[in-house]
Amino acid sequence: MNATGKHNINDKDIQVVLGTLLRAGVIISMSIVLLGGIIFLVHNNGIITDYKVFKPELAKFSSIAAIFKGVLTFQGDAIVQFGVLMLIFTPIARIIFAIFSFLLERDYLYVFIGLIILAIITFSLSSGIAH
């Protein structure tokens, strides 16, 4: 993106790694969702679903701790939720990577911008916990 030759090479490298990171995150998390989905369907085949009214108090896997607990007991829906969690963290990992690469480029303005975005997401994580 920058006009100077040295930065151009740097930016190109960042682009390739960022792209690979995003693709890998999607493939891995979707494979986990698929695996968990199959286990979930095998175990819950006959059960009747009801999503007519939103009941937040009934949500089983609404915290990271609960998801990990469920994964350890090999529950299908917990594995699905773990895959979803990984999918959510893919763009967040992308931000963290971008911060590091801008640090290598000595582009401190964009290191700072990346940190602001990370802070906003962290805030939303903790505001959820406080709920």
Binding site: Q15, V26, F54, Q81, R94, I95, H131
Partner: protein, 277 residues
């Protein structure tokens, strides 16, 4: 309805939504939320949670290719993500307390607006006039490759674009959609970016914007694995196949048909929302 039947219906519907969404540029969420709420009677809070997950999957998937090609402007993306993530978190928090009928009405209005936007002819407003002091300070001006040639472009009206992005992020968090139509307004019409750069950068930003609101939804219990699983698998598969077909087909007629369908669904959601108040 049994779990298996529900999963199959949603999987099939999400696949079609992803396919049509990527062919027409509207995104999968705009059709998956009406499908879940109108046809299957799912509460809109669950539908939003599942939809935002599919937004992350499709945007990360397609952004990967564009980023590698160097069309995406990573600096513009990150700079504007400050606005979209702030908006997304606010939207997601408001969504939790907002009555489902109000959400349905707002959703319907945005759907109609998005449908009109996809039918509008795209005009490249590209400018080379590098005088914007904000664009200079944040190093937003750049170039992108097209058929082997690098095209330079300059960025205009940065504060205006930033404010528009706050709004786009809020609606994304509130409704569980990518709000691509609004992002394109901010980047094409206000900041005067070349069309290719604005579309790919908007896609790149969507993942982070959606992740910011998704963590709020997750903690609130709005992401149910039973719905999220078929929705994200279906939408991602459909969108992947759609993007491969896209290179070979003319989608003008499909766009019109899809816009009519989306408008019809939107009117139904608005009607249901108003009668439910």
């Amino acid at each position: 309805m049994s779990v298996l039947l529900f999963t199959i219906i949603v999987l099939f519907g999400a696949f079609l939504a992803g396919l049509l969404g990527s062919l027409t540029g509207l995104g999968g969420g705009v059709i998956i939320i009406p499908l879940l709420t109108l046809a299957l009677g799912v509460d809109i809070h669950y539908a939003i949670g599942a939809s935002i997950v599919s937004v992350i999957a499709t945007s990360s998937g397609s952004a990967a290719a564009y980023v590698k090609e160097g069309i995406t402007n990573i600096r513009i993306g990150m700079f504007l993500e400050i606005a979209t993530t702030i908006g997304a978190v606010c939207g997601a928090i408001v969504a939790v307390y907002l009555n489902a009928n109000y959400i349905a009405i707002i959703f319907g209005c945005i759907l109609i607006f998005s449908a009109i936007m996809t039918l509008k002819k795209k005009v490249d407003h590209t400018t080379l006039d590098k005088t914007d002091k904000w664009a200079k300070f944040f190093k937003l001006n750049g170039s992108y490759p097209d058929k082997g040639i690098d095209h330079d472009y300059a960025v205009k009206h940065v504060p205006g674009g930033f404010i528009m992005m706050l709004f786009a992020g809020t609606l994304s968090g509130l409704l569980g959609i990518g709000s691509g139509a609004l992002k394109v307004i901010a980047m094409d019409n206000i900041m005067r970016l070349p069309f290719k750069v604005s579309t790919t950068t908007s896609n790149f930003m969507m993942g982070v914007t959606a992740a910011a609101s998704a963590v709020v939804y997750l903690h609130r219990g709005q992401i149910d694995p039973g719905i999220a699983m078929p929705v994200c698998l279906g939408v991602l598969t459909g969108a992947t196949i759609g993007s491969k077909i896209l290179l070979k087909t003319k989608t003008d007629k499909l766009k019109i048909v899809f816009a009519v369908v989306v408008t019809f669904l939107a009117l139904q959601m608005i009607y249901k929302g108003i009668t439910g108040l």
